[in-house]
């Protein structure tokens, strides 16, 4: 490392012929060397230096105040459980901590910029690779090592060591893989808990739905009717993820077509709420057009026309749940879905 006082001479490598596709130009300008160093005000004027010293000290002092402020804020402002209360405590603490940090940060940077030496130095770089001798020596060491191990002469050993090393990860992989996927029963994608006679209930209240409750143009978010206790389990959340249904009542004259033959009841259609794209709940129903929009990537399904896709990245219509009414006038399922709900997967049609 050397101090830069004088501009250096022309650097050799700029004009060097490199013979690798770029044409060397011998006719090049000469490197003027590192620009002259200009001292800062504080380098030459002790008064300016003193002023900067005071600024830095002040900034550190501000930091101390910030820290004290944060401790005071911590003890003085007890959040009372309301959102505004928590917000108040968060703002006060955050600002106080920021003051404490900024004080230190700006003080340090100001110190470095005004009072610490700003003289530039030049350091030599050396090639990133090791020298030929070193490489040669290492090669020789490896050769000797290989020779010593005798692996080249003993092919049996080579095969044995490779087999053992290649196999041993199985000791961990087998137990891991066999358990990590639960029961690995991917066939469960095909079924939901809907079956013949399951009543339709409002989500989330669980109240049953009569056909007569629904006016033309209304929409209902529906779950299968199961006992309330069953709805407080994990299995339920997983089942609900597949079973949620959107119920729409439209004027039977507007209803062009069911996706599943005869699945609707008097203009009431029940479609899976799980998008056939990647599985978001489709939830935005537009009464006039009978369009159902998935908020995730805007696939749009026409509920009046078999829930076929009219726009967006989904390909398939939403599966339809066949419904009817029972003796008491409640809506019930006639069957489970007859195809897997939700996103496509490789063996979906199997």
């Amino acid at each position: 490392m050397s101090e830069n006082q004088n501009p250096q001479g022309p650097s050799r490598d700029v004009a060097r012929h490199d013979g690798d596709g770029t044409v060397a130009q011998t006719d090049r300008f000469v490197d003027p060397g590192v620009p002259e160093h200009h001292p800062r005000l504080a380098d030459v004027d002790p008064k300016a230096a003193k002023r900067n010293e005071r600024i830095i000290a002040l900034l550190f002092a501000i930091s101390c105040l910030g820290t004290i402020g944060s401790v005071v804020a911590y003890f003085a402002v007890r959040p009372d459980g309301t959102t505004p209360g928590v917000r108040m405590s968060t703002v006060l603490l955050g600002v106080a901590i920021a003051v404490s940090l900024f004080g230190i940060g700006f003080a340090a940077v100001h110190w470095a910029k005004t009072l610490m030496s700003a003289k530039e130095y030049t350091e030599e770089r050396h090639s990133s690779s090791s020298s030929e001798e070193v490489r040669g020596a290492v090669q020789q060491q490896f050769k000797d090592g290989l020779e010593d191990s005798g692996i080249a002469r003993r092919p049996v050993l080579k095969g044995a060591v490779v087999s053992a090393l290649a196999l041993f990860p199985l000791t961990i992989a087998v137990p891991l893989v066999s358990s990590v996927g639960g029961d690995w029963n991917v066939g469960s994608f095909r079924h939901t808990i809907w079956k013949k006679g399951t009543r339709l209930a409002y989500d989330p209240s669980g109240r049953l739905i009569k056909a007569s409750d629904l006016t033309v143009g209304s929409v209902a978010h529906v779950i299968p009717d199961v006992p309330a206790e069953e709805r407080e389990s994990h299995e339920w959340i997983t089942e609900k993820s597949k079973a949620v249904v959107l119920l729409v009542r439209m004027d039977p004259r507007d209803h062009k077509r069911d996706h599943r033959e005869g699945a609707s009841y008097d203009g009431i259609v029940a479609y899976s709420k799980i998008c056939t794209h990647v599985g978001c709940p489709v939830a935005l129903y537009e009464q006039q057009t009978h369009h159902l929009l998935c908020p995730c990537h805007q696939s749009t399904f026409d509920v009046a026309d078999g829930a076929k896709v009219v726009f967006g990245p989904a390909k398939r219509p939403l599966p339809q749940l066949p419904i009817t009414v029972d003796d008491e006038g409640y809506l019930v399922a006639e069957d489970d879905f007859n195809e897997p709900i939700g996103p496509s997967y490789w063996e979906r049609l199997k």
């Binding site: 940060g105 340090a108 350091e123 770089r125 639960g182 978010h221 709940p281 805007q298 199997k350």
Partner: protein, 567 residues
């Protein structure tokens, strides 16, 4: 810096620090390492701070993350929440969600730490991306730093994994829907999709394993990998020594800058506190991810206009743009969901492949085996700069498409129209951006040439005795000139002929030819730097450029640029 030749001899240690240092050095020879580090020279430039933003945000993530980990309970067991906020009191939810609420409302400073953690995550990824842009556009990825570029790209991917896994932890409606989308994407993978979904979720979505699993990924696996790779990244940085911007005295054989201690280290330490301060201020004053507004995960509701964190938007947009028709059924009745695979796997795959291979492709088409330590000015490598801007354009278009519903409601446009515009833009935008950027670069290079040849316009118009008007030009000083002439206009590769001297067909000729084609794409258009001969010639032609008005004493006509000009 002592310039004497006799090295100072260490004094007998007497202070506690001195004694500790002596104790350590007797056992580790740490003095040698410290000596090298302390006086290591670092070049200085504002853009070298971008990496620091990423680094220090990560440190803040570690600090705030440890705080969160003390109070967060990553369990999916169902519980009835008791306590604030009022809207959640008495609701059934997972323990994870409930502990997130407790942490926000009952742990003082808990919400602050959550918000600092989340903002730091956003700034962390943004810092990485901007730092990467700096490295790309200045060519800092060239030999010997290609390896560090790869480490950096891995860090980018890991940062996305960290952000995604963290975002999913609170088990609220938004994060649950994010996981569901992930599940849909996983299922689309041919042959093994269903099994992979089971692998990840431990059964059917959502099951009761995903949050604990993601927790381990989030606080152990990914941070450990990031930490290790940051170590490698910084080690390589010190080993290769930092690159420097071009300028007088800066060559590929030296490094011009400031010693690590004290000014450089102090500034860096200060930067840490400033960045931490900014993040604390953001966490304190800007609400983010107030999960009680969304509620605990429930497979049924979804809120329109919900946005993932910004770094996931490009994937979201990519999924939105792909038309559904691409889903096909192959023979044997297998479903191939190209409508998901292309946007969610192929497109990001291509984007990251571009990042991984670019340094090697560029070295190949440049025929370049040298080490580079002086950075390029982006204008001097127009094709690279154009490609970088094209890449960013594609990324931004996808991210915007990920907010197409917000754009639609904001500008009262139909979502179908916007989607179609973005579909077209995705193909046209990057090409156009490439072309424009390349033209701008070439234009700037020509302007540099002009400037070197004719000097600065001074705005002073002078009139000669013969009635001719000229504007006085001030020649560049040698530093200004050196900056503009000290680069190489790289040329397309030359390939050896198809047949050798004896007319025998050469193997590999076709391959060479293909590389040459790519090389032409890179370097066909170029602007050569001015040579001293050219400068001399320019001066000989336009001697009056050099003339000072005082010499010829022509009348000073105008100080502004409005007067009639000769040039």
């Amino acid at each position: 810096m002592s310039t004497t030749t006799t090295p100072p001899v260490a004094a007998e240690p007497s202070t506690p620090i001195g004694k500790t240092a002596d104790y350590l050095d007797q056992r580790t020879k740490i003095g040698v390492l410290t000596k090298q580090l302390v006086r290591k020279v670092f070049p200085d430039h504002w853009s070298f701070m971008l990496g620091e933003i990423a680094l220090f945000s990560f440190v803040v993530l570690l600090i705030s993350g440890v705080f969160l980990a003390m109070f967060f309970d990553p369990s999916m067991a169902l519980t009835t929440h008791h306590g604030p906020p009022a809207i959640m009191d008495g609701q059934l939810m997972s323990v994870a969600f409930s502990s997130t609420l407790d942490m926000s409302f009952e742990v003082r400073g808990g919400l602050l730490m959550r918000q600092i953690h989340h903002w730091s995550a956003l700034i962390f990824v943004a810092g990485i991306v901007v730092h990467m842009m700096r490295v790309f556009f200045t060519g800092a990825f060239r030999k010997p730093r290609e390896l560090n570029w790869l480490v950096g790209t891995l860090l980018l991917i890991l940062s996305l994994a960290a952000g995604f896994s963290g975002y999913s932890l609170p088990d609220d409606v938004l994060s649950g829907n994010g996981l569901r989308i992930t599940d849909g994407v996983i299922k689309s993978i041919p042959i093994i999709g269903s099994y992979l979904s089971y692998f990840v979720f431990g059964g059917e979505f959502p099951g009761e394993h995903i949050i604990p699993r993601l927790f381990t990924v989030h606080i152990l696996l990914v941070p450990a990998l990031i930490l290790a790779l940051i170590g490698v990244h910084l080690f390589l940085m010190v080993l290769n020594k930092h690159t420097q911007y071009p300028g007088g005295g800066r060559t590929d054989k030296n490094v011009v800058g400031y010693p690590a201690v004290p000014a450089f280290a102090t500034k860096m330490g200060g930067n840490f506190f400033i960045i931490f301060g900014v993040l604390a201020l953001m966490g304190g004053t800007m609400a983010i991810n107030n999960v009680w507004n969304y509620g605990p995960y429930d497979p049924s509701p979804v809120s329109a206009g919900a946005q993932p964190d910004w770094y996931m938007l490009f994937l979201e947009g990519s999924l939105r743009l792909m038309p559904g028709q691409a889903e096909i059924v192959t023979w044997g009745d297998f479903t191939l969901s190209l409508n998901i695979l292309i946007p969610a796997v192929v497109i990001p795959g291509l984007l990251f492949t571009f990042l991984f291979v670019y340094p090697f492709v560029e070295a190949k088409v440049t025929g370049d085996h040298r080490e580079h330590h002086v950075l390029d000015r982006p204008r001097n490598v127009p094709t690279r700069t154009g490609l970088g801007v094209a890449f960013l354009t594609a990324f931004v278009i996808l991210a915007l498409a990920g907010s197409n519903d917000l754009i639609a409601t904001h500008f009262a446009l139909s979502i179908n129209t916007i989607t179609w515009v973005f579909r077209i833009l995705f193909f046209v935008g990057p090409v156009f951006a490439f072309w424009v950027t390349k033209r701008i670069c070439l234009g700037l290079q020509r302007k540099d040439r002009e400037l070197v040849l004719h000097g600065h316009e001074t705005g002073r118009i002078v009139r000669f005795a013969n009635g001719e008007y000229i504007e006085v030009h001030r020649p560049l000083d040698e530093q200004e000139r050196w900056l503009r002439v000290n680069y190489e206009a790289r040329r397309p590769l030359e390939v050896e002929p198809a047949t050798d001297a004896r007319g025998v067909k050469r193997k590999g000729y076709k391959k060479d030819k293909r590389w040459q084609k790519l090389s032409r794409f890179f370097y066909e258009d170029r602007v050569e730097p001015v040579t001293p001969a050219e400068l001399a010639a320019a001066h000989a032609h336009g001697e009056h450029d050099e003339l000072e008005p005082a010499h010829e004493a022509p009348a000073l006509v105008s100080g502004s640029g409005t007067a009639e000009r000769e040039h």
